[in-house]
């Protein structure tokens, strides 16, 4: 078990820089999820840790070892791939044991480790089958088994659940999480699915265009996003962003939206936002911090376009203050498409962002 440190690691393909210098420290036994839209560099980062992609600059350290120039096999990482990457011509047992066989481990030891991995992953009945005869979930378990027997310093997962159907994905999610608890090892996990990131990670690293936008535990990420990118990426449905202006209201502050409606800012935020008085900002509020009706302290009117009843609650999707807006309301709240609907906002959960830089104020 070991920690992983990336210091100023960059990657360029020919002249195109896909990752400018990136710093990331992953603590020993930590479960870190790299998440971001496709092409954000998360997989490239993982592959650089594995050694499958050479870093163009910077150093990568695993434990006390500088592995930057080391070939993949010597880094003592184990990797699980999106499409399982099992050896199609070998049985499950051979798939799990092949690496150990190549490394000339004693036969009894190999068999013991295969048996142990099969027990942990519930693969015992399938050891003599070929990958082709297994379901997607079983194949991914074999791939994980192959990683476990390596007893690596670091586990690397590259979107391992993307090829599974939704139900199986949720099952495997909990399985990998409990595996992490059981093995107590360092894991780096790449996904584009923010739900997967939030549910599994000790710490989520949100990446965009090769840069780390924010690295924090899931709740911090949700409650205090560092910028509009993180705010929009984390949480589903996505946070609403509405242009606004911070104005004085009495002795306090308020937000004035473009449609003229005014929303009082709670007193505990006055000091923090004071500097931005009379300046344009981006006001952000998550759909779930809305309620139907005009009973709250801050009320806006939105034009409903689509009503999506989800059971526990209903989403109203439409426009407010000239921007797309989504509100999550009670299932029985009366609303119909193309109607004006009053929505109460929970201003204690509000965010404002600098419209130039996108960073949180």
């Amino acid at each position: 078990m070991a920690d992983v440190r990336l210091q100023g690691v960059s990657k360029a393909f020919d002249e195109v820089t896909v990752i400018p210098a990136l710093d990331l420290e992953i603590a020993d036994t930590e479960f870190v999820v790299l998440v971001g839209p496709s092409g954000c560099g998360k997989t490239t980062t993982l592959r650089m840790i594995a050694g499958l992609e050479a870093a163009s600059g910077g150093t990568i350290t695993i434990g006390a070892r500088d592995v930057t120039e080391l070939r993949p096999g010597l880094r003592n990482c184990a990797m699980v791939f999106q499409n399982y990457a099992l050896y199609p011509h070998m049985t499950v047992a051979d798939n799990i044991g092949y690496g150990m066989k190549v490394r000339r481990m004693p036969k009894a030891e190999i068999e013991a480790r295969i048996a142990e991995a099969a027990r942990i992953l519930g693969l015992e009945p399938y050891l003599q089958r070929r990958p082709k005869q297994l379901s997607g979930g079983q194949r991914q378990r074999v791939a994980i088994g192959r990683a476990i027997v390596r007893q690596p310093d670091v586990f690397l997962f590259d979107e391992p659940l993307s090829n599974l159907d939704a139900k199986l994905r949720i099952e495997m999610r909990t399985e990998i999480k409990s595996l992490h608890r059981r093995l107590n090892s360092t894991m780096v996990y790449v996904t584009h699915d923010q739900v997967e990131a939030m549910t599994m990670a000790d710490r989520v690293v949100v990446m965009n265009e090769g840069r780390i936008e924010q690295a924090a535990d899931p709740i911090t990420l949700y409650e205090r996003p560092a910028n509009t990118f993180v705010a929009a990426f984390i949480g589903a449905p996505s946070m609403n962003f509405v242009p606004a202006q911070v104005t004085a209201k009495g002795e306090g502050l308020a937000l004035r939206l473009e449609d003229g409606s005014e929303l009082a800012i709670p007193p505990e935020r006055w000091e923090r936002y004071g500097l931005y008085k009379d300046r344009a900002v981006t006001f952000g509020i998550r759909p779930e911090h809305n309620a139907g009706g005009d009973t709250g302290a801050a009320v806006i009117r939105m034009t409903a376009r689509t009503i999506e009843p989800l059971g526990p609650h209903t989403l109203i999707i439409g426009e407010a203050a000239g921007r797309g807006y989504t509100a999550q309301v009670d299932s029985h709240f009366p609303a119909a498409p193309d109607e004006m609907v009053p929505i109460s906002l929970d201003m204690s959960k509000m965010h404002i962002f600098d419209p130039e830089t996108g960073s949180c104020i």
């Binding site: 594995a50 990797m79 791939f81 990457a85 050896y87 011509h89 390596r150």
Partner: protein, 335 residues
């Protein structure tokens, strides 16, 4: 509705067209001389009385030795196919998985140093041709490898250029190389190393001439394999050579079989090189077959037997390999 019988009828017709020559060869081989010369006859036991005389003649050797060329052809084509497929697949794998950057100028340096060096060592310094050739090569190879590392001007060739270079070796007429090869072999023979009319000589030339086709075919097969499987093995510290033999080759089995079949057929049927480079000892079957009608006149029954000798082994091999290929295809990759 009407199309299925029509298509079936056309297929049947075409099958008859392609199978008839085979049938004709087979029945002719069973005919006595009188049945051949007396106009066309088609059905044994009805049109004519079949005889195995032509086969007995062939095995008794009165029409020339059949057994030795058959053994020669088998040994040469199997060995050369195995070597060509092995080395060609290795080259194809390298072209698929690694990036090559070859400076055009360093290639030109190789040519210039090799030719110039040969002239220098042979003409000016008085070494024998073979020695001069060896020395020139020993100098030019390191020179061009070194030159390739320098930031020389001019175009840089990539993997596709290397592939084209491989394929281009099959673009000019074989007779051009055949004569050059004959001269090279006889030159080396003069130094006391026999390549003309020898097993080694034939295997070497067929291997060399089959590798381009193997590279070209295998590259596509290997490129279709998922790279993650090899990456998983790399992370697991499996050496590249074991990845190639224990993971890549088994996965590429259908491709290997198809390529082997094509290569084997090419070598088995090859005529020109065999004609120029062999004289007696290592003559192959095509040379023997071509000599049949001049040997004792147009004895079609005997020529048919000889032709069947040439055709039958390839048919058997094709059927066996096709069966293997089907079982290989079901193995396949995992999606």
């Amino acid at each position: 509705m009407m199309r299925r019988p029509l298509v079936f009828g056309l297929c049947l017709f075409w099958a008859l067209v392609t199978l008839f020559p085979l049938y004709w060869t087979l029945v002719t081989s069973l005919k006595p001389p009188t049945a051949v010369n007396g106009g066309p006859t088609y059905l044994p036991f009805i049109d004519f009385v079949p005889t195995l005389q032509a086969y007995r003649d062939a095995f008794s050797g009165i029409r020339g030795d059949f057994i030795a060329p058959f053994v020669n052809s088998s040994l040469i084509s199997i060995t050369a196919t195995a070597l060509a497929v092995l080395f060609g697949t290795m080259a194809a794998y390298a072209l698929v998985r690694f990036e090559f950057r070859v400076r055009l100028l360093s290639g030109l340096i190789f040519a210039a140093v090799a030719i110039g060096g040969f002239v220098l060592f042979n003409e000016a310094l008085g070494y024998s041709r073979a020695e001069a050739m060896g020395l020139a090569f020993a100098v030019s190879l390191p020179a061009c490898l070194l030159a390739n590392r320098l930031p020389l001007p001019g175009p840089v060739l990539g993997n596709n250029d290397v592939l084209f270079w491989f394929v281009s070796q099959r673009m000019f007429p074989p007779i051009v190389t055949a004569f050059a090869l004959f001269l090279l072999y006889s030159e080396i023979g003069r130094e006391g190393f026999k390549l003309l009319d020898s097993f080694l000589g034939m295997v070497l030339c067929y291997t060399a001439f089959s590798i381009p086709i193997v590279v070209w075919l295998m590259r596509d097969f290997l490129a279709a394999l998922p790279v993650e499987i090899e990456e998983a093995a790399l992370v697991d510290d499996v050496p590249r050579i074991r990845i190639f033999f224990e993971i890549v080759l088994p996965m590429a089995r259908p491709g290997l079989i198809a390529t082997s079949l094509i290569t084997l057929a090419f070598i088995w049927n090859e005529f020109l090189f065999a004609l120029l480079l062999t004289t007696s000892e290592w003559q192959t079957l095509p040379i023997l077959l071509s000599g049949q009608n001049s040997y004792r006149g147009d004895e079609w029954w005997a020529i048919s037997v000889a032709a069947l000798f040439g055709i039958a082994p390839m048919m058997v091999v094709a059927m066996l390999l096709a069966k293997l290929m089907r079982s290989g295809l079901t193995l396949g990759g995992i999606r």
